[in-house]
Amino acid sequence: MSERVVAAIDQGTTSTRCLLFNRAGRMLAVAQREHRQHYPRPGLVEHDAAEIWRNVTRVVPAALKSAGLTPDDIVALGIANQRETTVIWNRHTGAPLARAITWQDTRTDGIVARLVEDGHAPLIKEICGLSPATYFAGPRLRWLLDHVPGAREGAEAGDVLFGTMESWLIWRLTGRHVTDVTNASRTMLMDVRTLEWSDELLAILRVPRRMLPEIRPNAEVYGTCSTVLPGVPVAGALGDQQAALVGQVCFSPGEVKCTYGTGAFLLMNTGTRLAESTHGLIPTVGYLFDDKPVYALEGAIAVTGSLVQWFRDSLGMIGTAAQIETLASSVPDNGGCYIVPAFSGLYSPRWHPEARGVMVGLTSFINRGHLARAVLEATGWQTREVVDAMNADSGVPVTRLKVDGGMTANHLLMQFVADVLDVPVERPLGSEAVSLGAAYAAGLAVGYWPDLEVLRSNWHRAAAWEPAMDDELRRREHENWGRAVNRSYGWVQSPAEE
């Protein structure tokens, strides 16, 4: 028999994938299916949780088939998921009561504004570490309870369950209703110190406790699959960004990774200390493998890869995402043009929900190449702002950045990130850090990997970009970017209007 492997499901914003990894952390197979994005109105983004579950039942067998393996060859299954996306379902029928509300959806701005008006913000921040924002799952759950017929009564009667995507998938796979600490830490409902649901926060958001999953560590056997991979233990779950922190083996305080996908997410390991942020970052649980949680500081950028998608699909400027590098390379610089992609407001570190996208510096000189540059540079500058905030919050300057995700295929962009940060940027071999992190958690739980040191030795540098930008140019461009961002502020006049 060939070497047994660990399977990971990466339930992402645009697709669901299954990857298989061996003991060296090398990917052996991948299968992927995209799901539909529903945009009922501006600001609203929904997924069909039943469609996502169907995709899981298809991609897992497809990955096994492409590697020539059977469920017997799988030692454990780990799950990484798009975070904060909220679903409620009927525990008897297994049917979702409504489409899942995704993390990009801003419909809860009214709920969040009322929380702040009613003076709840300090208490919320004290308990869960988060300042109220439309980004988190709790207000979405409140919205579903208030708007979906039968939701509140069903939840109070114990018939309706809440979950983020890992919860939904684990329930479908094993029948057990659990979540993990990292996903729970993004609900605005969990006490970030005790790692339990907070009765005070449940009361503020009027969420019935009965509908909530049990909060568990990231690496333990949650249950055994009764379908899809019959007999295989589901042994790891993490929110996708925390999974990437683990996949990039950022196990020491001060280590930072950035995953470039639809959005971009920087996480810095802050050790066993829950760091306060006074610069617009999110203190969050990094991972919990034994008894002590490891915390992280997070900078969340809403729009990076999705700006390239928009450039491709909505503007039709390029045929594929990769071709943006070709187009951007057709000009030496941005020609004075800047794009601030505040499509759903600005996230870390500025947190301006009322901001909307702007394109500035347009002259008749600007062509498609300059726009392509401005699209890529927006990702670079947003990364810079988050790194600046991390340096200020942690007091320990970031000295190198580990990157992963699809946009690391773009060498022009990676060089620009190194240039504007003025630190080296490094990509590991195999840029599937999210899936690898989920596999690592599951493999640790069943003893496939003995400890974190072994995982560390699996990390190999595949590419590095050294900063090469003139200091004065960097300073000037940074200032221009800042002026462009200022112009995006205050566009939505009243949050309730949308």
């Binding site: 090398r26 045929g319 594929t320 990769a322 071709q323 070709t326 540098r461 590419a463």
Partner: protein, 254 residues
Amino acid sequence: MPGSIQSIERAAAVLRLLGSTGRPLGLNELAAALGLPRPTAHGIVRTLREVGFVEQDPASARYRLGSALRELGRGGWDWHDLRARAMNWADSLAGSTGLAVHLGVADGGAVRLVHHVFRPDGSPQRIRTGEEQPLHATALGKCLLAFAPIATPPARDLDLQPWTGRTCVTVAALEAQLALARRRGWATDTGEYESGVGGAAAPLRASGGIVVAALGVVGPVEDLYGLGGELRPWLAEQLVAAAREISAALVAGP
């Protein structure tokens, strides 16, 4: 003067017809519109499907224009599309061989590196994407000379500069190496560009088997080549397998 070839005319008519409407067409519709017997129409459309110019919708069995047709007007593969398609397999090749991986295309009489994966040993390395290398002195270059004759100049037109004592400096010697590469399916470099640094490269084939790039491993000559100067068989196997996987990804459509 020979007359025009009827089956090519009919194939062109099928393509024009499919291109004239936004919806996929069934075999009966195609046959009727072209005034052809059903078996004749089927033979034409099946052949077009085999070369990728026509696609068949699996659910309805209807036909539409294929993705290979769209590639025709593009003037070759975008370098960054190549990198994006190759990236996972290039990483995997570096992981399984412990060697650096290069991806190169023919560009103005030289090799242009469009992707580079470090040798995964933690040693300090600098990213070489964008670098130009000579066709006659590198494995990537010789691979392109051997397998992509349209994209590269003939050997006799090259400036056979001696980069090291091992560089091929005569047209005859180079031609012999290219013939050997064609027979084996990969090209070699035993320290011919940088002293002590060897390479081996295999072609990447897009639709129609056309070679669009070369995939190579690079490392100390003694790591790649045994005492007899032969590429280690397991390396050749890994290289050719990775090139095959990437080629499949290139053919798989958008």
